[in-house]
Symmetry: C2
Subunit: 328 residues, 2 copies
C-alpha cells in the first residue's frame, strides 16, 4: 500500500514535491490543495485531485502525510500548527531564529491531535543542520563554518527589485574561495561576512540613465549588501531571462577539530551540495522525511520532531537488512 | 553523573578512545581491560583502572558502556557477541561483507542479555555509511561513489612487509583527482579500480640489490596492487620513520542524482574527511555512539543497532532545545 501524500500550496516547492513523489515507488500523490480556484490550477500528476484549501479537512482519512509548501514568513507559522492537529505533516520552516517558537506551537497542536509533525526539513535547515550536529558530536573541540552558494538568493533578488528604476534582477551569493581554502587548511580563521561571501547582481533597468544611482543604492543597502563586496552587472531583460532563470544553490558545511591527548591532531569534516534546483532538492529531502513521518505515526508517535530526532533508516524505502548489506 | 566507559584492548584505537573520553565532560574512563599483564600496561588516565580481561565480568555494574577496541579479523567476531550479553557495547567491526552475520550474532546475544549493542561505528563503516544512506534516500535516482585517501592502508603496508627482503614499508591510497572531478561535474563515469585510486609505496629494503625484484613483486601482487597504478619509492628506514610514521586517512563519498518531472536537474552531494589520525577520529565517532548506547539502554532498548538506527540527537551532549536553537 502506497503512502498517500497531500500537498498544500503549489508554487516551486509544491511542484518539486510532486516530482519527488513520482521518484518514490512507495508513494502516491493523492491531492494538491490550493488557495486559488482549483479550476485554474493544472498539475502534472493526472491521477491526483486538485482541491480548494477550504475542503482540506474532508481529506483527513484519505491522506497519510500532508506536506506544507508555503513560505516561512507568513504561511507556515499559521498553517503548520493548524494542520498538525488534523494531519501528520512535514514542513520546511527555515527562519532559524524562530524555530524554537515554531517547534513549540507545532508540538502542542500535534500532541493535542495525536499526530506526528516534522518541521524545518530541507537542506538548511535540514541536511546542513545534520552535518553540523554530527560533526559537533564527533569533534567536541572544534570550529564550525557554513558557506552558501554559488546560488540564487530570493530575498536579495527581491530587495534589488524593490529599488526605484529596477525592472528585474537576480542576485547570486558566492563563497570566497580563499576563505574556504583557509578553513580546509586547518587555519581556523575568524571570518567577517565580507571575507566569506561575495554578492553578484544582474540587474535590468527601466532606464539606462539610472545605472549609477541604482548601483550605489544596491551597494550601500544595509544588511543585504553594505557589509559585502558586491558586483553589479546591468544586462538586458532578454539576457536575464536567457542566462539567469534557473534557481541553483548549494554550499559547504565544515568543522575543523582536534583530537589527541594534547590536541595534537587536526581533522576536517566537510559536507557540500551543488544543486541545479534549490526547490526540487529541498522537495526530495522533504519527501524522504514524509516517509519517516508515516513510519513514526504507525508506531503511535505524536508531537513535533526535527531531523535530529529521526533515525536515518526511517528515511529510506529499503529494509534494515538491505541497508546493512548494501550501504553500511 | 558521568557515563562510565570501559575499554577492551589498548592499541591505537584503545588509546584513541581514552583521548576522546577526555574531551567529553559527561564521560569518565572507568577501566581498561587488556590481554597483557596489567602491570606491564601504562595508560594516560590516572584515575582509571587497568585490569586483566579475565576480570571483566566483575565490572558489570561498574561500567555503563564497554567499547571494544580489537580487530575485525579475529577479535570482534568472538568478543562482541560475548560482551554484548553482559554489557552495553560499541564496536567498530569493519569487514563490510560480514556485517550481516556479525549483526545477527551480536543481536541475539544482546537480546538474551537485555543489553544494547551498536556495531560497525567509525568513518567507513560509520559516517561514510550515513552519508551514503541519507544521499540515497534523498536522491533515489542517482549514482554513488566512494573514494578513499589520501591515507595509510594498514593492510597494504602489511602485504608489502611480507615480501622477502623488505624491512619496513608504508602504503598510501590516493584518490585520482581526474576521477573525482568527473564525478563532481555530473558526468556519472563508470570507473575501474585503476581509474579511482593510485597506490604509493615507501619501502625500506634489507639489501638494496633486491630493489628490482621487490618492485616487481609489489606491482604484480594480485588483489592488493596488480589492478592499480602503483608507485614504489625505496627509502632509508630513518626517512620512513621521520616522514611516514603518521596514520592519516580520509576520503570522499559522493552521490550524483537527478530531479524534475523529466529528470532535467542535476544535484551533487559530497561528504569528505581529512584526518591526521585515523584511529583517533574513529575513536571520537565511537565515543559519541557510546553516549547513544547509554541513552538507548536507559530507555530499555535491547539488541543490535547500527548508525542507521540511531536518532542523531542521541550522539550529542546537548539537549534537544540547545540543538534546535544552536545547530538546526
Amino acid at each position: 500500500m502506497s503512502i498517500r501524500i497531500g500537498i498544500l500550496g503549489y508554487g516551486n516547492l509544491g511542484r518539486g514535491v510532486e516530482c519527488a513523489v513520482k521518484q518514490n515507488a512507495d508513494m502516491e500523490l493523492a491531492a494538491v490543495f490550493t488557495r486559488r480556484s482549483p479550476q485554474e490550477l493544472s498539475i502534472l500528476t493526472k491521477t491526483a485531485a486538485v482541491c480548494s484549501v477550504n475542503e482540506i479537512m474532508e481529506w483527513k482519512d484519505k491522506i497519510d502525510v500532508l506536506i506544507l509548501c508555503g513560505g516561512s514568513a507568513t504561511d507556515l507559522p499559521e498553517q503548520s500548527p493548524k494542520m498538525a492537529s488534523a494531519f501528520h505533516i512535514v514542513d520546511s520552516f527555515d527562519t532559524h531564529a524562530k524555530i524554537p517558537e515554531h517547534f513549540a506551537n507545532v508540538d502542542a497542536a500535534a500532541k493535542e491531535g495525536g499526530k506526528t509533525a516534522i518541521i524545518s526539513i530541507g537542506w538548511d535547515p535540514g541536511m546542513f543542520s545534520l552535518s553540523r550536529m554530527y560533526a559537533n558530536a564527533i569533534l567536541p573541540d572544534g570550529k564550525d563554518y557554513t558557506f552558501w552558494g554559488k546560488g540564487v538568493s530570493q530575498g536579495h533578488s527581491d530587495a534589488i527589485r524593490r529599488i526605484k528604476g529596477v525592472k528585474n534582477a537576480k542576485q547570486y551569493t558566492i563563497p570566497v574561495e580563499e576563505a574556504l581554502e583557509a578553513v580546509r587548511n586547518g587555519e581556523n580563521p575568524e571570518l567577517t561576512v565580507r571575507q566569506k561571501h561575495i554578492r553578484e547582481c544582474f540587474v535590468v533597468l527601466e532606464d539606462e540613465e539610472d545605472a549609477a544611482r541604482v548601483e550605489e543604492e544596491i551597494k550601500t543597502m544595509p544588511n543585504y549588501f553594505a557589509d559585502y563586496d558586491t558586483i553589479v552587472h546591468f544586462i538586458s531583460e532578454e539576457e536575464l531571462l536567457r542566462e539567469h532563470s534557473g534557481i541553483p544553490h548549494g554550499g559547504f558545511v565544515l568543522r575543523s577539530g582536534k583530537t589527541g591527548w594534547d590536541n595534537e591532531n587536526n581533522h576536517l569534516i566537510e559536507y557540500s551540495l551543488k544543486l541545479d534546483s534549490n526547490p526540487e532538492f529541498t522537495s526530495n529531502v522533504i519527501v524522504a522525511y514524509a516517509r519517516a513521518a508515516y513510519r513514526l505515526a504507525a508506531q503511535g508517535a505524536t508531537g513535533c520532531k526535527t531531523a535530529f530526532d529521526i533515525p536515518p533508516a526511517y528515511l529510506s524505502a529499503k529494509s534494515g537488512e538491505e541497508l546493512r548489506a548494501e550501504l553500511l
